[in-house]
Structures are given as C-alpha cells and as structure tokens.
Symmetry: C2
Subunit: 167 residues, 2 copies
C-alpha cells in the first residue's frame, strides 16, 4: 500500500500551507481584510519579486486568491482572497491557538483571531458532533472512506486493539 494510493486530503492542503511564504502571504491577506496589492505584499513581507510572483501564481491556480486591475483597464493588479481562501480561517486559527498554547514564546504571538463585533478573542477551535457537542480526542475516530483505506485499516490495525484514543 503506497503513500500515494492513500493520499489524504490533508497532505494536499499542505502543498501550499506547508510553504512558509505562502502561509505568510495568506495571513497578510487576512490581516488586511482580504485585499492586497503586489507592492504591499512585497514590501510588507520583505519577499523578493520572483518568489512573490511564484507564490501568488500557485494561490491563483488554487483559486485561493483572485486578481483584478486596481483601475479598470489598468495594469496594476489587486489580489483578493476568495471564499475558498477565507474558508481556511478555522485551520489557521486552530494552528495559531495550538502554537500559543504549546509554544507561548513572544515571537509566537504576533497575531490573534478576534470576533470583530465584540473585539474579543475567538473561542478555542474545537471539533463538534452534528448535534453540537464538543468532542475531545477520545470521542473522535478517523475512519476509512474508501476501499483502499478500508483495506489499509484492516491490514494494519493492532490485533485485539480497538482504535480508540488514549490520552
């Protein structure tokens, strides 16, 4: 059973999330309300033109951002986070909180996610059941969704041991 045939959605998300420039660009969009120009990103992040161009291209290809001219018919471009890009917020907020909890050094605390209306930190990002119960690790299982994954699960489970989280 190869890595590839079990390729997980998450591994694919990491294609771009796992690149620290892509991440910083994405965060910059979120910090500044979803719209940035090339020069703002370049100057703000201290990133080279080439690297920025390349990372923006990936984010555009993934439809995580879109571009449009600053003025109609003009050559200068605005980049905007798409809905797909904004939908990464729970993931980034969860990462932010996880790091603040486990590595609370000052360099780790540059930005936080807040509730815009009440100006308060957001709640801890958790997993819930469909009826709204907060689920801790022992209440959650990761289960196969297709035959390849089911085969893997059956072949490599520890005999006599159910797959329940022990914390």
């Amino acid at each position: 059973m190869s890595n590839e045939s079990l390729n997980c959605s998450v591994a694919i998300a990491l294609d771009f999330l796992g690149d620290s420039w892509s991440f910083l660009i994405l965060r910059d969009f979120m910090v500044f309300g979803g719209t940035r120009r090339f020069e703002q990103l370049r100057e703000g992040l201290g990133i080279s033109r080439n690297v920025l161009t390349e990372r923006l291209k990936t984010l555009l290809d993934q439809e995580i951002i879109r571009k449009q001219p600053v003025e109609e018919g003009g050559r200068r471009m605005l980049y905007k986070l798409s809905r797909k890009g904004w939908d990464l917020i729970p993931i980034l907020a969860g990462m932010n909180q996880w790091c603040l909890r486990y590595r609370p050094d000052p360099i780790n605390s540059a930005f936080e996610f807040i509730d815009a209306e009440y100006r308060k930190e957001i709640d801890v990002v958790t997993v819930r059941s469909q009826d709204g119960r907060v689920l801790g690790p022992p209440d959650i299982r990761v289960v196969p969704r297709n035959d390849a994954a089911r085969g893997y699960f059956q072949k490599f489970a520890t005999p006599g041991k159910t797959a329940v989280a022990e914390t």
Copy 2:
C-alpha cells in the same frame, strides 16, 4: 520588517505539519487509536527506516508523540500520541473538510473524522465567538498582539480601508 520578526505561530506549526511524511505518520496514529509500533508505521506507510526514524525523532522532540517499551525492560518501542498531538485534531479535521469541500476527487477522500459514539461525521469545524456564535469570515479579524506586529499593521494597512473581510 523582516519575516522573522513577524514570525507567526502558524509558520512554526508548519515545521512539521508541512512535511507530508510527518503528516501521514500523525494521521496513522489517529487512525489507529494513538498507538503505533515502528514496524507498523514502516510497513503501513511504505516509508524507509531512515526517514521514519528521523520523522519520529522530530515528533518526539516536539513532544507530539512519546515512546515507551512494548514490554518492560524490552527493546521494542511503542509510540503514543501525546495530548499535544491529539490537540492537532481540529486542525487536521479542518484541513480534511476543506479539501473534501474543494477537491472532492476520490483520492482525496481516504479518511474522515467521525463522532465515535453516534458513528456520524463530525460537524464542520468553524470559528466561534466566546459566547458560541458561529463566526464567518466577515465577523473575524486577524489583529496584532505585540508591538512589532502593531507597527507592521499600521505601516502596511491600505489607507482609508478598514480591514474587513469581503467575500
């Protein structure tokens, strides 16, 4: 303002999450209830001994997993996901859902996260306010938490534009 002085917690989390082997190892722990032996991981993932040893070392150094002998005094080792490791579940579940929503190809759907008691898919991982309201992108802001980040925020904000999500 350099990348480093704005170093974000999330970028640090990506040190290991961004590596696809580390991710697959982590997922394997979750699929199989948090406990794996070296040979199970190696055989299941089809990973070389060297690469597996190195990735496990990183995860041990990060205290995302712990190790203990299979039998007291024995040489064979068990690896167990720590609380810190289990606390990555909301992030991984969020990534999994994001990918299933936006790239629903079959290869993308190997595993899913379920509520162990009711055997149902978990709810969509969302951001909530501290009083429990679900917050969409326009209700969330990413704001500076320290002076360096505040300076960055002021210097690079688009004049006349408030930082509100437009979706």
